[in-house]
Structure formats: C-alpha cells, structure tokens
Amino acid sequence: MSNTRKKLSIGLTSILATSLFLSACGDNKAANNSSASGENKGEAVELSWYTIGTPQKDVDKVMAEVSKYTKEKIGVTVKMTMIDWGDYNQKMQVLTASGSDMDIMFTASWAFDYVQNARKGAFAPIDELLETNGQGIKQVLDPAFLEGSKVDGKNYGVPANKELPAQEVWRFNKKVLEENNLSLDGVRSLESLEPLLKTVKANNPDVMPLQVDKNYGPYVPYDYLIEKFPLAVKLDDTSYKVVNIFETPEMKQALATMNKYYKAGYVPTEAATLESSTDVIATGQWFADKATTQPFADNVWSMSAGYPIVSTPQSDALIYNVSVMGSMQAISANSKHKEKAMDFLNLLNTDPVLRNMVDSGIEGVHYKKLDDKYMENLPESKNYDMPTFSFGNVMLTYLVEGDPENKWEEFKKYNDSGKPAVLLGFNFDPSKVSTEIAAVQNAKEAFWSPLMTGTVDPEKYVPQAIEKMKAAGLDKIMAEAQSQIDAWKAANNK
C-alpha cells in the first residue's frame, strides 16, 4: 500500500515541478507585454540585438553610449549580445526555436541561414516597415540587394551595403611570380594556368603551385541552386533549365584538368581532406589559389599575409543570391517593437555617427579621428574589435591608414558594374523534398571534395557519383526545382 503511495507522491512532485516550469514561462511573457505597453507612453524602448563575432569586453560600455545617442534620436536604447562565430548557428537556432525575446539579429547565407529561417518563420517580413520606417535604407541600398534577398516574394532582412557582385579571381604570390618572370597576360581559365604551374613546379620544388583545399570547386559558368549541391542553371540559359552539374561539359572538363594537375603534383596530395589553406598562406610556400574578390582586395590580402599578393579575374562580376545575402540584420518575428527596430536599423544604415560608434567604439577611447574621412585605432580598441561588415552600410565607416581616399566610390562603381546572375531572387524551397535532399547530400559528400580537388579520376568516379545521387532521389529534387523555377519565371516575367 505504502509503495503505491510513494509512486503517487513522485507523480505529484513531477506535476508540481512541471507546473512550476510552465508558470515561470508564463511570468516571463507577462513581463514582456507590460514593456510593450510602455512603448505607447513615449518611454525609451530597449532593443535586444543579437549579432555575430567574438564577444568584446567593452560592448556594454559602448552600447551605453550608443543608447544615449539613439534615445535622443529615435527613443530606443540598445542591448547587444555577441555570439562567437562558431557558436552562432547553434545558439541562434536554440534561441529562436524556444521563442526567446529578441528584436534584431544577424543572419546571412552562411550563418544562421537566412532563407531557411525566413521560411521557418524566424523573422518578421519587413516590406511594409521599410516603406513606413525604413525609407533611408531604401535610398542607400542598391535595389539589387532588396530584390535579391526576397524569400517567396517578401523581404525578411536588411542587407548590408557592401560589395554586391561576386567575382572569382586567381590569386598569386607576387614573389614567386617575379622570381620566375611569369606574366599574367592571358591567364583566366583553369587551363590557362598550366604553363605557369609547370614553371613553378620545376623551379620551386618547395612551393605548392596551386593551393586548393576541401572547400575548393573550379569555376564553371553556372548558378547553383543550393551552395555545394550539384543542381544548377547555366548563366546564359534563358530557358532556365536545371541541370546536374556533373553532367555538364564545363564541369567534366574542369574535373579532368584538376585530375591532370593532381597527377602532375600541382595541387596538395591531401587536398580532399584539407580543412583550410590558412597555414600554407601563412608560410608563403604557395604560388596560386582561387578566391572571391572585391575592390582593393589585393591590398587587404597582402596586408593580412604580410607579403604582396596580386590577382587576376577568372570570371565576370555577377550578382548571385549568396552575394546579396552575405550579411544581413533581420527583425525577429517575436519582437514586440518591430517599428522601433526598423527605426534603429534605418538610422544605423544612414547615420555615420551611429554607424561608426557601433563599429569602432567611443571616440577618444577606442579610436581617434584624424580628419573627416580617416580615423586611427587607439590601444583600447582591442577591447572593442568588431566585424565591420556585419552591421550594415559599410560605406559610412571611416577609412584607416592604407585605405585609398576613393575606397567607397570604387565600391559603388564595382556594384554598378555587376550584372545579375540568372537565379538572382529565386530561392529554392526544399521542404517538399527534404527526405531526398538528406539522402543525396550523403551520396554527394562522398564524391564532392575528391572530385573537385582532382584527387580521383573523373572518368571513373563521375558516373558513379551520378548513379548514386540518382538512386538517392536527385531526379525528384530536380523536377521539384524545375517546377519552382518555372513558377518563379512566370511570376516575374523572365
């Protein structure tokens, strides 16, 4: 008898504990509601802002200054929470899934996936807010940014005004280039590199002629539907036909060339498992590699490597979906202050004082202004070192030593020169085929890096890869993608 009672009491305890948990959640909500009503009375609203980057010691100090400024201007104060690069995805996933109270958050195609989470309902649609509270943003941004970051016809985030098109280049270690008296004239395609690689291989046995790692993929004139997933549309294809990238003549040729280079010893033996090229770049024992450029990129690369690096294009400058979604700030669907959040983002993208304060800290403490364009970091800036690109309009930020005076003009010129890629504005919705995608991913991963780096013979492995991916359901994904593209094409009169 007493045994059943004991069980009963355990049951009761657990019910009690559960109800305590739930009531705790409930309380939280009530508190939020009351702060929401405060907005109407004209008191300052506190915005909770989650952004990416290594947490900095002086964030609260700077945000206190920022809040003073924004309170006066638009009646908001700001609380910033930084989450480190590696943790950002996971922590934001949990914070969003649990419905935490957030107002503004960083998102991109590569961190806390913008399209995916917009579809899942993490962000508030901002089309109307942009009209009412974000006119400034619409004026600064190249229209391609907002056009390209639409998900199912709606905008969910404010893209940062920065370099717009993406252009692939070959980078070269200038020292090795000059030692061998090599010229970059006529270098563009993967094949055109061969004579250079050959010379370097013969003259500099310690230097890696073409540095590639597992993230490498040769440039082919196709626009991928999903990053590193074999479905793509050819750049000049006006019929928008979805193809398997491994079945295209361009990719077949590129893979054959890579395999030839691999056999000739031009690329690292373990390229297919090499995490990154950072180590090799640091030692300077390399000749060429592939990178994505922006204006004055050669300067930036040379500065960070500590020796001169030059580059030459291997593709046209085109605006892809991933290039407009490189850095965005979105408003949480759960936010109680959506208008105020938009006011803040609007100010952040148009007001140089606020933008530079968020970026470089407090004037006189973290940085010093040299004239109206240039600034200099003070020793204290080590406590407030922020990733500039993540906050919005980079063209408002002050220049530092080494930057050319016309830096931002050149950025604007570069942006104007970019032409839209074929799929700009189209975002594939994988939810109907997520089972197949999961299976194809596994089939694909086994072949992707070995093939792309030239480690294995494409003659033998490409047919295997195609067969495996087909068995996993690639054709079904392809058909679904084609029907989505056709619908999008019809809706947009392409």
Binding site: S14, G121, N334, Q441, W448, T455
Partner: protein, 311 residues
C-alpha cells in the same frame, strides 16, 4: 484523511532518504522526462511561431515522413551495419581488454608504478576527438606523417591513408581502444579493490596459484559489474561516437563506406536543410532501438541469473 496522515508520516520517517533522492529526481524530470515530450517534434514539420510550445502545436503533422530519409537508399544498410558492428567490437574490446588490464594492474606488486600506468592510460580519455584527430593525422599524413616517413625510410611505398577504406576499421578500433581503455579498466580496478582479501588468503592456503585465483575469485566477483556495464552499452549500440567517425577520419569522402554511421549520416544529410523534425526522428529511432535491445538483453540475462540483471 487517515490515509493522508499515514502518508505524511511515511514521508516524515523517510525524509533523509527522500531528500537525498531529490536532486537526482529533479535532474531527471528537467533533463530527461520533460524533454521526452519533445519527441512529438519528430512527427511534425517544425516551424517557428511564438514560443516553443505554440511552435510545436502549430507545426504541421506529417506522420512518419521525417523517418523516411533514414531508409531512403542502400546507405541505410551501410550505416546500420557500420554502427552496430563497430559498437559490438567496441563493447567486446571494452569488456575483455579492460578487465584484463584491470587484473594486470591490480597484480602489479609496485603500487607506485601501478598508479603511473593507470594515470597514463586514463589520460587519453580526457582528450577531445578533435585533438585525437590531429594526433592520428600526425601519424597518417601522406607527406609528413610518421608512418609514411618510417615506411619510406625502409623503402616501402607511402600509403594515402585517408583514401584507403581497407585500413580504417582497424585504425578506428585501435584509436577507440587507446582512448577508452583507461577509463573502463579503472572501473573494474575499483571493483577488484573491493573484493574481500580473505577470499584470496583462503585460496592461497588451499594451494591455488595466481591463475586459479583470477579464474575462480576475481572474474566471478566481477561478473555482475561486467553484465551491468555491457547491458548499458548495448542500450547505446545505435549511437555512434560522432567525433571518432567524423574528426578522426577527417570527414574524408572516400572512406564513407566504412566510416559512415547513423550520427554522421544524419549530420551530413541535415546540415543544409536544418529540419529539426528529421533530426528528432533520427534520435527517437536510435533510442527506440536501444530501448528494445536493453529490454531484450536484460530479459536474457534474467533467464540465466536474476541477480545480474539491471531490473
């Protein structure tokens, strides 16, 4: 009323014991029983709307769709085979080698030296798989690895370890054993220390040699612990050690036929779509199989010896 009073009296009498159980009970409720409600996500297409509870309620019910990706291709066979075979080998080695090592350690006459060995063997257990992965890489790297250096010094051809699937079952078992042996043997060593010394004295008087003592005293005394630890391990046979199969193999595509296990398959499959429902489904499937296996093996153990069973 009377019943309630008796109940309170009962609680009062056992208050010290109940108080001791309380922290663990709270822990289990918070981290094991409450999250169990979340398994419902595996039958839903999870979408955000408001807080966590309302998100679950408002998400679309999709039945068993989330489980399909696990069985979509012939990979299903490969990952199940790899997961179960590796874990079976790990359990077997964990048992035999750890017990053997524990007995050897307990028999070392120089106790100070025994402590040294014990600590040395225990140390790898604390290393993260990422670091172990780099250790292994320093041995197996193609151009700078120790193994290839030695091989070429003796005139043999260097091997591209990270693209030769044939070697990896052995490498993985070796690495796993190296990392976990110390921990497992310490558990058995503690049990050996707890065996009544008078049993050995009595055996020695009867003229039993060392080997006979081990066979007739140590091993029978360890059997209950061995059974329980093995039963617990069987419950986790469907969970692979992600770090071992992902980090140590450097996620090399050419090795997937022998290194793809359920956990890495789920990770690779879902990292692009991030469907919470599907990863929950995979987790539910793993724990369900583990649950069935524990119940069955416990049932079998009960048949032989009731005292050794878990419950």
């Amino acid at each position: 009323m009377k019943a309630l009073r008796r109940h309170l009296k009962d609680v009062n009498r056992n208050r010290a014991l109940l108080l001791m159980v309380l922290p663990a009970t709270v822990w289990f409720i918070c981290f094991s029983y409450l999250p169990m409600l979340g398994t419902i996500i595996s039958f839903k297409e999870y979408r955000f709307s408001g807080n966590f509870l309302s998100s679950i309620i408002n998400s679309k019910w999709v039945g068993f769709d989330n489980f399909k990706f696990l069985f979509r291709t012939d990979d299903a066979y490969i990952i199940t085979r790899n997961t179960i075979l590796y874990n079976a080998v790990f359990i077997f080695i964990g048992l035999v080698l750890a017990v053997a090592m524990a007995i050897v350690l307990s028999e070392i006459a120089n106790k100070r030296l025994a402590k040294w060995y014990q600590t040395g063997m225990f140390l790898p257990y604390f290393l993260s798989w990422v670091i172990v992965g780099y250790f292994v890489y320093s041995f197996l790297s193609f151009d700078r690895g120790m193994v290839n250096r030695i091989a070429t010094a003796f005139g043999a051809d260097p091997v591209q370890w990270y693209s030769e699937p044939a070697y990896w079952p052995l490498i993985l078992v070796l690495v796993f054993t190296w990392k976990s042996l110390g921990y497992n043997s310490v558990i058995y060593l503690a049990a050996i220390m707890g065996i009544d010394k008078s049993l050995y004295e009595a055996a020695m008087i009867d003229g039993a040699n060392k080997w006979q003592q081990i066979r007739n005293i140590t091993i029978p005394m360890l059997t209950p612990l061995m059974t329980i630890l093995t039963l617990l391990a069987i419950g986790r046979i469907f969970y692979a050690d992600f770090g071992l199969f992902y980090q140590v193999t450097r996620d090399s595509g050419t090795l997937y036929s022998v290194t793809n296990v359920i956990d890495t398959y789920v990770y690779r499959g879902l990292k692009t779509t991030g469907e919470i429902g599907m990863s929950t489904a995979a987790g539910l499937y793993q724990s369900l199989v583990g649950f069935v296996l524990v119940i069955t093996s416990n049932y079998i153990v009960r048949k032989f010896n009731k005292d050794n069973a878990l419950f």
